[in-house]
Subunit: 355 residues, 2 copies
């Protein structure tokens, strides 16, 4: 019956959207005691724009662009634990790490409850970080060609289902699926247009912003997911001293083109790659051959880092008998079980590390 | 010297951007004890889009559009106080209500510390609520005319300064200015492209989402600011039973075209309009004659509501000897003093209201 209801969502006849209600959110029995919480921006620069570029309101002038929004929570008792920065993937925002689609606690709060300060950015170009709208307004005014528009990426529900490994066919979950598929519409709502590919400067300002954030925190674990899976590696190369640990959650790929010098630098920082289950599926509407390829690129990076004396590991839940995890592993029904494995790694490999 | 530094920001020669650091944020001495915190979406619908409209990744399919992101915090001890929903203004996001540009506590946390659950949305079309990108991708592909593009609005720093009443001339604050002008660059970073005028359906889905949110909370005080200043009134007309109080902070206008029937409905809900100081300025690059006009439209609405038996009031800080408040009154240096006046009104007019 559950599957029938989900299948109906994809039937196309109805555009109804299942709705989460506030009362359906699960509340913890224990209060959350924070030393502080709030938000701030990292980086950014001034751009001088014309009246047209600003949308016509007032004369030309300056605006801030390429800044990165960060929301944070510091636990009241943090035992000087290392801060953790959680970066979201393509077409998503920091919401990825908050309350799950089915209303359970997200990793942002769970890591705080485990004594870590947590910092959740929106990548430059998305969410509360905004984006540079000048090109779009120029095209609208006819002063620039339409080909100069950024490509605004969205994943359809039908693409998400197999690619995020909820099941082979939209509406039909794997029998052991850990993603809360009844609430898949809530994941759909989390998506925003993604300007990363053509609408954000190169190199992506998010990389330096992550490195600068880690510096301001006097060291942090950097965690990326999917599109941002390799971002912690890139940020560590900018300033390895403040990258205390790198957690690559379901990265689209682990880079294969690092020089030996770069590998030597990255080998000074503990690295953990984390993958879900069902990586071998390749469907007709899948955008990639399989996630096993991504896994393999990370195995190869781990091999290179270890050969250079690094502390690099793979967290492959099926090896521990944990089955059915999806690409959205931080939202899966067993998300706190996976979090505990990452927290244990941070404790052993980062917090207790011999300098 | 302070003014010299600010003036330099507008000199045009340098595009440097002053930066806030995490260590500069002020922390409260008292921990924040939450019953719960998290985020969720209200509303939304499914849109079937083509491959081009989705940015070319995979075949056509369905995505969610027009949903509204809401972040919330519930205090551990809330004494059954009425929840408060805080909606941001044009070109901004829910960040408006969080940590101030100069790193002080925002109204979101302050109201929680005063015992109210607080809900901070991003308006549909902005921030973590995303926007419908289909038109933009169609124009990029040449399948739609450039004139179909939404107008993406941004306020320049030069337009913000006099319009938000930091002073007559960019870089030169009023002598009694309450906005933390040294941190004006941090306000600039809070801005995102605003699709409200042409890129969001009519009526704006945010209005029903606010009403639905208040319904889910079994009643709430709805607070709007600037562009969204009149939103609480519109949401109350959709469902007056769940609108327990309406706080209109520096609304662009109070509507003058309500029917007597609508006034009768709105008169069943307590209303408070809140304005800052220096409303009479009108500069060459100001986009409006003066904010005194906005004030006057709200005085007229208050008059109509009171004539219909309603409980409607104006909070005009200068009347109480509080001078120098800006359009961003929730971020002003005396923001908690203003918050206390609103909290007192909620306590007297909403919480203690005879049914």
């Amino acid at each position: 019956m559950r599957n029938n209801r989900i299948a109906a969502l994809f039937a196309g006849a109805s555009l109804a959207l299942t709705a989460q209600t506030f009362s359906s959110l699960q509340k913890s029995a224990k209060p959350l005691v924070l030393k502080s919480q709030g938000s701030f921006y990292i980086g950014g620069e001034k751009s001088e724009q014309t009246r047209v570029e600003l949308g016509g309101l007032g004369p030309g002038g300056h605006i801030a662009v390429n800044q990165m929004y960060v929301r944070y929570m510091e636990p009241h008792r943090n035992k000087s634990n290392v801060p953790v920065v959680m970066v979201h993937g393509a077409t998503l925002t920091g919401k990825s790490w908050e309350t799950t689609p089915d209303g359970r606690m997200g990793w942002d709060e769970y890591f705080v409850r485990k004594g870590h300060s947590v910092y959740v950015p929106d990548q430059v170009g998305r969410g509360r970080s905004g984006f540079n709208q000048a090109n779009i307004n120029n095209v609208r005014a006819g002063t620039a060609p339409a080909t100069g528009l950024p490509n605004l990426l969205r994943f359809s529900d039908e693409v998400v289902w197999p690619n995020f490994r909820f099941g082979l066919t939209p509406g039909a979950p794997f029998s052991d699926e850990q993603f809360p598929v009844d609430a898949v519409d809530e994941l759909s709502k989390q998506a925003v247009p993604d300007l990363s590919f053509g609408g954000v400067p190169t190199p992506n300002p998010t990389l330096k912003a992550l490195s600068d954030l880690a510096g301001q925190l006097h060291g942090a674990v950097l965690m990326g997911h999917s599109q941002s899976g390799p971002f912690p590696l890139a940020a560590a190369l900018l300033n390895p001293a403040v990258a205390k640990g790198l957690v690559l959650v379901e990265p689209g790929r682990c880079p294969a083109n690092y020089t030996d010098e770069q590998i030597k630098t990255l080998a000074t920082v503990p690295v953990l790659a984390v993958f879900g289950d069902h990586r071998d599926i390749a469907t007709g509407i899948s955008t990639r051959p399989s996630w096993q390829e991504s896994f393999n690129t990370c195995q190869e990076l781990i091999r290179r880092l270890k050969a250079a004396g690094g502390q690099a590991e793979m967290l492959n839940p099926p090896d521990q008998g944990i089955r059915g995890n999806s690409h959205m592993i931080m939202q899966d029904r067993n998300n706190l079980q996976i979090a505990d494995l990452i927290l244990k790694w941070i404790d052993q490999r980062v917090s207790k590390r011999k300098k």
